[in-house]
Symmetry: C2
Subunit: 459 residues, 2 copies
């Protein structure tokens, strides 16, 4: 790097805020699962003002900035490109939690606060920030991708839980609204520009989030469904009956479960008769204790009623212990990699069409890659699918990954009115889809506001 930029950053942030040692750089250069590049330097500012100073200095010296959270995304959007010229701006030191206001149901956090740290701080007050994920991201990254997770069906996504925001704009100036209001309609709600846009409109340095009372009880059931269609119909039957208690509705396919049984750490299969077409987790929760209303009983009754109907398509139900479900669920991604080459997609369709959609992807993929298997799992309560395609790399032609991705996206977006990125936003792994499917008007709006790239990716 030029001495001038290093010196300027060191003068503004302190030498100890900069990382240049190759060993220390490594964790910023490689994502948790995806994304890998090479950083010129990592800057670790401590405050909103230092983030702004850092962006201004990079602009002055013509250096591109890659904001970095906890590196937990799936589209390669949190790591630098391979040029070795980007400045990685890590938010990790912006980790203060302030202004916990239980009467307002809100908390103010800096952009680098970890989801786990936030919930630790809220727990002792009997409250929670209820977005539930398999990873432990930073709040800034969660805003930039608008994560939803497993409990969206009850609590909504980050957008629905965002009461305020503070950002550093691409030119190094700043904008903030940290008032924590639930009702405010005075023209453009500018914070929406930064939600789900991968930091392209600005770097999230702070937010006011909505907090919720911690549930006093949870109940779960593991349902063995004979088809995707049964998974959709069961949800349609449960939602009106269990309404406000329904907190998660997750399903994983037999292919996904089998991968874990072959390569994971399960001591015994939770499915002695072999995995069902879909193993479904139903979770309820409530603010009132089980002595007042027993959720397990309520859930059991609703499931029995469904099974007594015509052609339920349900093989078995176990109310109570759902640890097995999560045990399997959390090992799917690792296990699939043991199976061969994996193309991992995060897509969504209307939740009424999940079964139909998954079947159509399998059909279209089989036409060109009969050896590839679909191993999907996902949030069937909100139409989100982690759609994995797996094959033996030895037998597959060059370029198959790109071809299969295009096919799956085409089925999703064109065939089923779906989205090619449910909650990981846009990065190097799906920018072609952005170019293909984004309307000219939306691209023009972004260009007029001055947004021409998402991180390492030119739009």
């Amino acid at each position: 790097m030029t001495d001038a930029l290093h010196d300027a950053l060191a003068a503004a942030l302190g030498e100890d805020a900069l990382v240049t040692d190759a060993h220390d750089l490594a964790r910023y250069e490689k994502g948790w699962r995806y994304g890998e590049g090479s950083a010129r330097v990592v800057a670790r500012p401590r405050t909103h003002e230092e983030v702004a100073a850092c962006v201004r200095l990079c602009n002055e010296h013509g250096a591109r900035v890659q904001p970095a959270g906890a590196n937990t995304g799936l589209v390669g959007a949190s790591t630098p490109d391979g040029s070795g010229q980007m400045v990685v701006l890590s938010l990790e030191r912006l980790s203060r939690i302030t202004n916990i206001d239980d009467a307002n149901g809100s908390v103010e956090v800096e952009g680098g606060v970890l989801l786990s740290a936030l919930n630790e701080a809220l727990k002792e007050r009997g409250r929670t920030f209820p977005i539930d994920l398999g990873a432990d991201p930073q709040i800034g990254g969660m805003v930039a991708t608008n994560t939803g997770g497993s409990r969206l069906v009850r609590y909504g996504d980050v957008r629905a839980n965002l009461l305020g925001l503070r950002v550093v704009l691409p030119d190094g100036s700043t904008w903030s609204d940290l008032r924590g209001l639930r009702k405010n309609n005075t023209g453009l709600d500018a914070k929406q520009l930064f939600v789900g846009t991968s930091g392209a409109f600005g770097i999230v340095t702070g937010a006011v989030l909505r907090t919720w009372p911690l549930p006093r009880q949870r109940a779960g059931a593991l349902v063995e469904a004979e088809s995707g269609d049964a998974v959709v119909r069961l949800f349609e039957a449960l939602e009106p009956r269990l309404g406000e208690f329904l907190t998660a509705y997750e399903a994983m396919s037999a292919e996904a479960v089998n991968a874990v049984l072959r390569h994971g750490t399960m001591e015994r299969s939770p499915f002695p008769g072999g995995p069902p077409a879909y193993a479904v987790l139903v979770e309820l929760s409530s603010s009132i204790p089980a002595e007042t209303l027993d959720l397990e009983e309520l859930l059991g009754e609703a499931l029995v009623e469904f099974m007594e109907g015509d052609d339920p398509g349900i093989r078995d139900v176990v109310v109570g212990d759902v640890a097995d479900f999560w045990h399997v669920r959390h090992q799917i991604s690792e296990s699939l990699r043991e199976e061969g080459q994996v193309l991992g997609l995060d897509v969504s369709v209307p939740r009424s069409r999940m079964a139909e959609f998954t079947a159509e992807v399998a059909r279209r993929v089989a036409e060109v890659a009969p050896d590839a298997r679909v191993a999907d799992f996902g949030h069937w309560g909100d139409g989100g699918s982690h759609l994995n395609l797996v094959w033996d790399p030895a037998s597959a032609p060059e370029g198959r990954k790109g071809e299969l991705q295009r096919i799956a996206y085409d089925v999703c977006v064109t065939g089923f009115g779906g989205s090619y990125s449910a909650e990981h936003c846009v990065g190097p792994h799906n920018v072609e889809a952005y170019r293909e499917y984004t309307s000219p008007w939306v691209r023009e709006v972004c260009a007029r506001i001055g947004v021409e790239r998402f991180g390492t990716v030119e739009l």
Copy 2:
């Protein structure tokens, strides 16, 4: 009007789609409560395409367009100005309801569908669009103002219930995303631009809305609170206990109740001991029937527990019949007008600061207008306040309305981090506040996208 524009509109929409007769124009020229002007012509297109054609023709002929919904707003934003030169574009004939998808929990509506008509159509399916208002607006107008209403504490605002949108842009081109997805993060979520922006970014011709199961039971209580502070503390105590059931938390001040007792149609006062400082409505609802969980009992227990605590500040509680509350509540606005000159504001602050805020407005108003009274009521569960100032017009100086509005807005925005428009957006009645409080960056973003006016109002 020039014959050319009339002829062009008649050719595009049919002569019967145009209203020019003075008598028939009247209902488009005057708002339900606020706003009054004079229209050149009212165009009543039947389809999205006709709305687009209408906007293009007006642009070609240099005529300004005022979109009009059901005229139920409070800021004068749905009526033409006094020039007699504006074309009012009424959405009322875009009233089709399609694609009701209960498995996806969604429904597609055209922009002119009335809230009441939508809920009528959903009711027979056991579902609801749960935004609850004192008025019957059109869905397009609800999107343009991002209404929240009385049940926001449970269901969120329009933004939280909006799954898709179709609009006609100011240049007559169109944009739409009617996929009805719950998870979609592929860059800028363009539909957010049209939520709460008074139609300035485009005219809402269609939307996909989230539907919810209709509750199987409701329970309510009328609480007599001795202070605003007690109203805040009671909410803080009830929320963790009643969590997912809490559906409305409304309060009205003694001044507001007294106006209704003096001028309304109450046969007897619901408060034999005189109105309390605040009469509070607590409403619960649930998808499960009372035989499984009796919400009245649950609510009664929670209220008794609060009253047995230290210094509850609650004078009395009646669980059960809350008809009196709504009976009073719906007559406040009319009754206040009988009391004298009214300045009606729709503001919000963090809900933890509602009591403090209201007291400070009263103090600041008394300094310059000791004869003016604060008669507030509002949504204390989400920090929304209908803050009315009332005085005898005979005794008040010219220009008091503007002065008191500025004072109240200053206390709200500068003093308490609040919003001068909670859910009525920006119109002639509050555009000065927009100019004063909107950040230069947000104004620049709007200008770059090409938004320079909200309806009749230049920004």
